[in-house]
Amino acid sequence: MIKQELCTVVSQSQIAKDIYELTLSGELVREMNEPGQFVHLKTGGEFGPLLRRPISISSISKDTSEFTMIYRAEGKGTKLLSESSSGDFVDVLGPLGNGFPVEASEQGDTVLLVGGGIGVPPLYELSKRLTAAGFTVTHILGFQNKEAVFYEEYFNSLGETYIATADGSYGTAGFVTDVIANEGVKFDILYACGPTPMLRALETSYGKNKKVYLSLEERMGCGIGACFACVCHTADDPTGYTYKKVCSDGPVFKAGEVVL
C-alpha cells in the first residue's frame, strides 16, 4: 500500500563525494516489504522544486520503523535534501514500484549482485536478505573514481566484494563487466542496478543463460504509473504499442522483458 507521510530525519551524513546517506523514520516503513523499491520525496518544502524525486531504499529496519537511502546530491532537489538534518521532516510517498524478487534465488544458487554508482544502494538491502536466507552472495560495485566509492565495508561484511573504478583510481580499473570476466566470477542468478549501458552489457552477456534481474532508472513524473513519463517498449514488441512503466511495472524487470 502506497502512503504519503511526513517522515522524520533520524540522521544524515555525507559518505562519499556528493553522496549522502539519509535515514528517516515513519509508519510507512511497515509497508516496505521488498528490497529494490523506491520512495518519491518532496524536497525543499513549499519553495523547493515542484516535482518529487525518486530515490531507492537502501535498507529497511521494521523494528525501529526506519529506512535509509543513499543518493547523489547533484541537482537542486537533492542538494536541498542534503541540507536537512536530524528532526526535520521530509514528505515521502511510498513505497513505490516492484523490487528484486528474492524468491527467484533457489536453494544452492550462487548469487551475484552488480551495482553501478548510485545504482549500488538498493543492492544492500537485497544482499542482507539473501545472506540471511543462507545464500552465498558476491558483489561487484562500479564507481567513477576512488572519491565516489561507498559502503565497501558494509558489502564486505555480507560477502565477497569487488570494486571497479572507471579511472582506475581504486580497485580494478574498468567496468563491472571486466571484473566478472577477469576474476572468473561464477553465478547462477544476477541482480543488477545501475546505468543503462551497464545493464545492457549484462543482459547481452548473461540474459540468455542465467537468471538476470535488472533495476532501471528513468526520469519520472508521478512515480505511481499515471503520467506515462517513464515508459519503455517491451522486448516482444520493440516498436509497437505495448509498454511497461518503469515506476509501477518496474523498476526491476527480468532480463529480456523490456527494451533497454
Binding site: I2, L50, G221, G225
Partner: protein
Amino acid sequence: MKSLEISLPGLFLKNPIMPASGCFGFGREYSGLYDLNQLGAIMIKATTLEPRFGNPTPRVAETTAGMLNAIGLQNPGLDRVLNEELTWLEQFDVPIIANVAGSLEEDYVEVAKEISKAKNVHALELNISCPNVKTGGIAFGTIPEVAKNLTKKVKEVSEVPVYVKLSPNVTNIVEMAKAVEDGGADGLTMINTLLGMRLDLKTAQPILANKSGGLSGPAIKPVAIRMIHDVSQHVSLPIIGMGGVQSAEDVMEYFYAGASAVAVGTANFVDPFVCPKIIEELPVLLQELGFDHISECTGRSWGKHEKLAYHRA
C-alpha cells in the same frame, strides 16, 4: 455537500473538482489511494482511434514552478478505452469526460461518435490543443475557422455535450472561443499547456527527446486566469478552468475569473491526494469568504457582475 453542487451541460457534479486529462490516466492508479467517488468528475486520458505509444523518453523535464511534458498522447486506442477502461470506471458513481484527440478530422469524428455512446461518458473534451503531436492537435486549435468546423462535425455525431479544450498558444484566445461557440460547442475547458523548452547545461541540447513540450503547473496559473477572465465575458459557454491548481484558494481564483468548475492537473503528480484534499477544504473556505454556494463565485472579477443561470444544481 450542497454548497459545491454544480450543473453544467451533460454534467451533474457533486463538487466542481476533477482531475485533468493526462494527469490521472484512466483512474486505476489513484483508485488504490482513495475512493474515486469523491471526485466531481474524471477527465480521462486523451483517446485516439488507434493505439499510440507516444514520444521517446525523456518525456518530462522540470521547470521553475512547473513541468514540461511531451508524452505524445500515449493511449491504448478507442477499442480498449471503451472495452477496458470505461467499463472498469463504471463501478464509480462519477461522470466521465472523455478527451478526444486525433490527427485528422475523420479520427476526431469517429472517436467522438463511438466514445460518446459509453454510458458513463457524460461529456466530451475535444482536444484541439495538444502541443506534442506533429499533425492534428494544436493545428486544429490555432486557426479559428478550422476549430469551428471541427467542433461542428463532432457536434453532429456526439451523443453528449461537447466541451472544447482551448490552447493558450494563440494570439487571440477570445477569437478562438467565439469560433468554437459558433461551431456549436456546449462548453470550454481551458487552458491546455503552453509550448516550452528546456536545455541541458552540459550537452546544450533540449532535455526532452521531442525537443519542445507543454508547460503545466503553478507557473501557468496567471496565464490561465487572465484568459478565462477575458473569454468568460465574451462567450456564454460555461468554462472548466485548469492550469496550476494546487489548493482550494486556487480554485476560488478560477471561479472569480469566470470558471464554473476546475480541473487539477500537475498537482496530482506532486501530491496524489490533492483532489480529495481540495474537495474537503473548499466548503470551509467558501464559508470563510461568506458564500453560500460555489456558483456565487463565478465571474466575480468581471467589471459588471452577472450570475449565470445554469450554474446552481
